[in-house]
C-alpha cells in the first residue's frame, strides 16, 4: 500500500503470453530471496520515464511456495494512463524495476470450506497463485475462466492442457458463458466466491451472489482498473498550514509525495468521490475519513488534518 518498502528487482525473463499480454519474471538483484507472499497478493511497480511516474499494481501469479522469483502479467491497455504501454515498450530482460512489498487485499479465506474462482481475461493472474496454494493444501475448489478468444486469454492453453477436473474454460467468441446462477445455487455452506476481471463482470457476479442469498462476507473481489478522474480542487492541510492544488487526474496522495507530506489518515469537509473499497458505507457518508490514493474531489476545497 505504501511505497516505503520498495526494492529494486531484475527482469529475468519476458514472454508474450497472449495478443496484448506479457509475462515478466522478476528476481532480486543480489540473490537474496524476495519477501514471502500469500496467494492473491499484488506488488505495485513504479515506472519512471523522464518526467512521468506510474505506479501500477500487478497480481503475483507465481507459486507462493517459491520465494526466488515473482511473476506478473501485464495487459497493454490502449486508453490507459500509459504504465502498461511503458512495461510493454521499454522493459525487457535485464531491466531494473522498482517494486513495493507484496500486499494482499484478495486473500483466500481460511475458514472457507470450498473456493469458487471466477476469472475474466487478465483477471486470471491472482488465481494462478491461488491454484498453486490450493493444490498444496488439498482444498476444494472450482475455477471458471472466461476469455474473449484463445489469442486474447493468457494461460488458456496451459490450463486446457493441464485438464484439471475442477477448471472450466469459456470462450466468448464461441458464445460460451459462465452459468453463474446455476453454479452459485448448488454450493455447500461455507463456500467462498472470488471474482477478478472487468468491472462489468464483477458487478454481475456480486449482484448474482446477492440474489442467490450469499452473504457479502463470502464474496471477494479484486479491482485493478484505474480510478475515475475528479475535478480540480484545492486541499488545505490544517495542521501544517500548507495548501495543495490537485489536478483532475491526480490523486491527493500523488501530490503529497511531490510536496513532501507524510499522510496516514485524515478528516475532510469537501464533496468527496471516494472510489475506494476499503472504507465502509458509513465511513464514506460521515466524510471523516478518506483514502488519499483513490478519493477524487467534486470541485471545491478540502481540509485535511495533516
Amino acid at each position: 500500500m505504501t511505497t516505503h518498502n520498495s526494492r529494486l528487482v531484475h527482469v529475468a525473463q519476458v514472454q508474450q503470453v497472449a495478443r496484448e499480454i506479457k509475462r515478466f519474471e522478476l528476481v532480486s538483484l543480489d540473490e537474496t530471496p524476495l519477501p514471502a507472499f500469500s496467494a492473491g497478493a499484488h506488488v505495485t511497480v513504479t515506472m519512471r520515464d523522464r518526467d512521468h511516474v506510474w505506479r501500477n499494481p500487478y497480481s503475483l501469479m507465481g507459486s507462493p511456495l517459491d520465494a526466488k522469483r515473482y511473476e506478473i502479467s501485464v495487459l497493454r491497455v490502449p486508453q490507459s494512463r500509459g504504465g502498461s504501454a511503458y512495461m510493454h515498450r521499454n522493459v525487457g530482460i535485464g531491466s531494473v524495476l522498482e517494486i513495493s512489498a507484496p500486499v494482499n487485499q484478495f486473500p483466500l479465506s481460511n475458514v472457507g470450506r470450498k473456493h469458487i474462482m471466477i476469472a475474466g481475461g487478465i483477471g486470471i493472474t491472482p488465481f494462478l497463485a491461488m491454484l498453486a496454494q490450493i493444490k498444496q493444501d488439498k482444498r476444494n475448489f472450482e475455477l471458471h475462466y472466461a476469455v474473449r478468444s484463445v489469442f486474447d486469454g493468457a494461460y488458456f492453453d496451459v490450463l486446457r492442457a493441464a485438464d484439471l477436473p475442477n477448471v472450466h474454460l469459456y470462450r466468448s467468441d464461441r458464445g460460451e458463458r459462465i452459468a453463474l446462477p446455476g453454479i452459485l445455487a448448488s454450493q455447500p455452506l461455507g463456500t467462498h466466491l472470488y471474482v477478478c476481471g472487468p468491472q462489468k463482470m464483477m458487478d454481475w457476479a456480486l449482484q448474482t451472489a446477492r440474489r442467490e442469498g450469499w452473504p457479502d462476507e463470502s464474496v471477494h473481489c479484486e479491482r485493478f482498473s484505474a480510478q475515475p478522474s475528479g475535478k480540480t480542487a484545492n486541499v488545505k492541510l490544517a495542521r501544517s498550514g500548507k495548501a495543495i492544488y490537485v489536478g483532475e487526474h491526480q490523486s491527493i496522495l500523488g501530490t503529497f509525495s511531490s510536496d513532501g507530506v507524510d499522510a496516514p489518515s485524515l478528516c475532510g469537509d469537501g464533496q468527496l468521490l471516494h472510489n475506494d473499497h476499503t472504507l465502509s458505507v458509513n465511513e464514506k457518508l460521515t466524510g471523516e475519513r478518506a483514502t488519499t490514493c483513490a478519493t477524487r474531489l467534486d470541485g471545491g476545497s478540502l481540509t485535511l488534518d495533516l
Binding site: 479465506s109 470450506r113 442469498g213 463470502s218
Partner: protein, 201 residues
Amino acid sequence: MLVSGNKSRPIYRGLEPDTFAKHNIIVTDGDGCAAVIEMAIAAGDAFSKRCTVLLCTKDLSDHERDESVRALGPATVWFFPTLETLLTRLDGMLRTARMGTRLYASGSEPLIGSTVKTALAHGIDHRSVSTEHRGSNKRRVQCVHCKGMTEDVTSTAVRCAHCGHTLLVHDQYSRRLAAYMGVRADAEVLGETPASIGVFQ
C-alpha cells in the same frame, strides 16, 4: 474491576432479514423470540415461509411457548429443552446446508455466542450471522486456570464450577470459545476476595 470498552466484546446489530435467502435458520430463546417475531412481521409471509426457528424453551411455560409459535406465523418452529440439544441439531442442519442459507441468533449472549461458534465450524464468517441481544445479561465464563466453563454467570466475583476458585469476570471475550474470561480474584492476596455483585442480571 471490569475493564469496560474492551474491543473484543461482540456488537449485536439487531436482526436483519436477507429477503434473497432461500432458507433462514433462526436460533432464539424466550426473550429473543420477540425480536424474531418483529423481524418476521416486517419481512412478510414470503420470508417467514422460508424460516426454520430453533426455539430454546428452557425458561418458557407451555402456554408462553404456544403463544410464540402462533405469533411466528408460517415459519417452521422446533422446540428444544436446553441450549445444548438445540446446538446439536443446528450443527446437523449446517452440515448439509447449501449456500443461500442465512443464520440468525436472538436472545442471551451465551445463546448468540454458541450459535456463532457453531457457524464458524461450518465456514460461516461471524459477521454473516445476524444477531440481536435480548433479555438477561448472563455470561458464559471460562476459568483461565482450569479452562472449565461456568454457565449462566450473573455476578462477579463468581465461583468456578470446576476448580472452585473465586473468579473476577472480565470483559475480554473469545469468539472461538463463546465465553468471557474469568481470572482468580485472590491471586495477589490469598483468601482476599471482593464481594460478589450481580452486574450481569
